[in-house]
């Protein structure tokens, strides 16, 4: 069994703080969106309060991530090599949907140069550089509703921003649950979770 150091401390701190923010924001978002129904078990008042607080924390954490990524060069992990990308994504998807049940090995192994498999890479690229900034920006517009335009396409300005924010929120929520499940696809069910705590990846 060999171990490689893949995840520096700043990355692990960012990751778990991000996870906490995601969890609280999802629960409190549901608390407000479904206020008055069985779905919302946190009161509207506290949902609003904590959603605002953790929304700001997520935004700050995201800024920290952008800086850390740039400063350490970790951002390169998110840039896919376009040559043969479709085939690589297919191979990884095939492994998850078929190969894993045949006892096949992972088609792409993790190393320092390539921490992500192709499917992870393309997903994380969109999540971290498209969806997360969009949810942060739309969240800020909702936090300061006077900054939203009075009308967007004939509708009251806040409504389209809110629907956009909720839609992106649903996408990120779905990602989080899928991410947690796919994290169990390590050497053991808990291996990847351990990696994100101590920074070492086991082959």
């Amino acid at each position: 069994m060999s171990k490689i150091y893949l995840y520096p401390l700043w990355l692990r701190v960012w990751h778990w703080l991000n996870a906490l923010c995601f969890l609280i924001l999802i629960l409190t978002g549901l608390g407000m969106h479904y206020a008055g129904t069985w779905v919302s078990f946190i009161s509207f008042e506290y949902s609003r309060l904590f959603h605002n607080f953790f929304g700001i924390l997520l935004s700050v954490n995201y800024a920290f991530f952008l800086f850390g990524n740039l400063y350490t060069g970790n951002y390169k992990q998110y840039i896919p090599k376009l040559n043969g990308i479709i085939n690589r994504i297919y191979l990884q998807a095939r492994y998850y949907s078929y190969g894993i049940f045949q006892g096949e090995d992972h088609p792409f192994h993790t190393d320092v140069e390539n921490k992500f498999n192709p499917l992870q890479q393309i997903t994380y690229l969109f999540i971290m550089y498209v969806f997360l900034p969009l949810v942060v920006i739309s969240g800020i517009l909702l936090f300061f509703p006077e900054t939203a335009p009075d009308k967007i396409w004939g509708m009251g300005g806040i409504w389209p921003v809110a629907i956009f924010h909720i839609s992106i929120g649903y996408v990120l929520s779905f990602f989080m649950f899928a991410h947690i499940y796919l994290a169990t696809h390590g050497k053991t069910v808990t291996a990847n979770f351990k990696s994100m705590i101590d920074g070492y990846h086991e082959h």
Partner: protein, 311 residues
């Protein structure tokens, strides 16, 4: 400038009044017509010609309500309305029995009177005309200018008194229990996004009763005000029964979709959910969880099979 303005009004403003009112308009069409009150304030006697012409009472002669004390100038105090609003809006059957629409309106007026009689305003000197200037009042016109305008106008009515301690005290009856004035900013300190609420919701949406006839004239004591966020911020928002009731009825007749109007006018967290978006997300999550559960189960079976083979 003042002289020019005065002459202009004397010459032209009176022409905007009905024929019978031109004599009255000679003075009451002057914006500067006012007198000092005993309390040191100023009481205006100006009747805005344009607004009167848009009001519900535009076809009434001045003498319908002001019939006494007009012989001398300035008029005696008897020139103030000789009858209160309910004289016409409660009793004058011959006028109200003319059409079905008028009968329905009379019935509504009686319900409004009933609500007023149990409201906190009836314990003070607040009367109909305190909030509804009979020379300008036209709610239908205000509604046509949009919800934001309606909210702003109606809230200004309340804040006119409730932001002014002296004015607030002046409406209290002499034999009323002593009560300290509290500024609305202080009283509403608990309310998140207070100013935004005041822009988007009327005072009486939280401070009037929703039970019975629900005509927003049963203004309640502040202890009974709506304080539960879920009352408005849920699918069953009480705002649909008050602030948005008229507009929703109009919109439902137009498009059949209750939420359409709300989409166009306001976003209320928890109340203006998009049914299709929520359905799509629920189905997606449900399907996703099923797929993950099945995938996990199959992985478990596979690993057991592999363990069996290796043994």
């Amino acid at each position: 400038m003042l002289v020019f303005y005065t002459i202009w009004f004397l010459l032209f403003a009176s022409s905007l009044f009905p024929e019978e009112a031109k004599d009255c308009a000679r003075c009451h069409g002057m914006e500067t017509l006012a007198a000092r009150t005993q309390g040191g304030g100023v009481r205006s006697f100006f009747i805005h010609p344009g607004k009167f012409d848009d009001s519900y009472h535009k076809e009434l002669k001045c003498t319908e309500c002001h019939s006494k004390g007009l012989e001398i100038y300035p008029h005696r105090s008897e020139a103030l309305p000789s009858a209160d609003c309910l004289h016409c809006h409660g009793e004058k059957k011959d006028f109200w029995d003319k059409t079905e629409e008028k009968k329905a309106l009379l019935s509504k007026m009686k319900d409004i009177e009933t609500e007023y009689r149990v409201s906190i305003h009836s314990e003070s000197n607040v009367k109909c005309e305190t909030c509804h200037n009979p020379h300008e009042f036209n709610l239908d016109l205000e509604r046509e200018k949009g919800l934001d305008h309606l909210i702003k106008t109606e809230n200004e009515l309340c804040l006119n008194c409730h932001l002014e301690p002296r004015k607030w005290k002046s409406f209290r009856k002499e034999d009323a229990e002593p009560k300290d004035y509290r500024h609305p900013f202080v009283v509403h300190a608990w309310l998140p996004s207070r100013e935004l609420h005041w822009e988007k919701v009327r005072c009486l949406d939280c401070h009037s009763s929703y039970s019975g006839t629900n005509l927003s004239h049963h203004i309640q004591k502040k202890e009974k005000a709506v304080r539960d966020c879920k009352s408005c911020h849920s699918n069953d928002s009480i705002l649909k029964d008050k602030l948005y009731k008229m507009a929703l009825r109009q919109e439902k007749n137009k498009s059949g979709l209750m939420n359409t109007m709300l989409w166009n006018e306001a976003y209320i967290i928890g109340a203006t959910r998009n049914f299709y978006l929520d359905l799509l997300s629920s189905l997606s999550f449900g399907l996703g969880f099923l797929v993950m559960a099945f995938h996990g189960f199959m992985r478990y079976k596979t690993s057991k099979r592999m363990e069996g083979k290796s043994e």
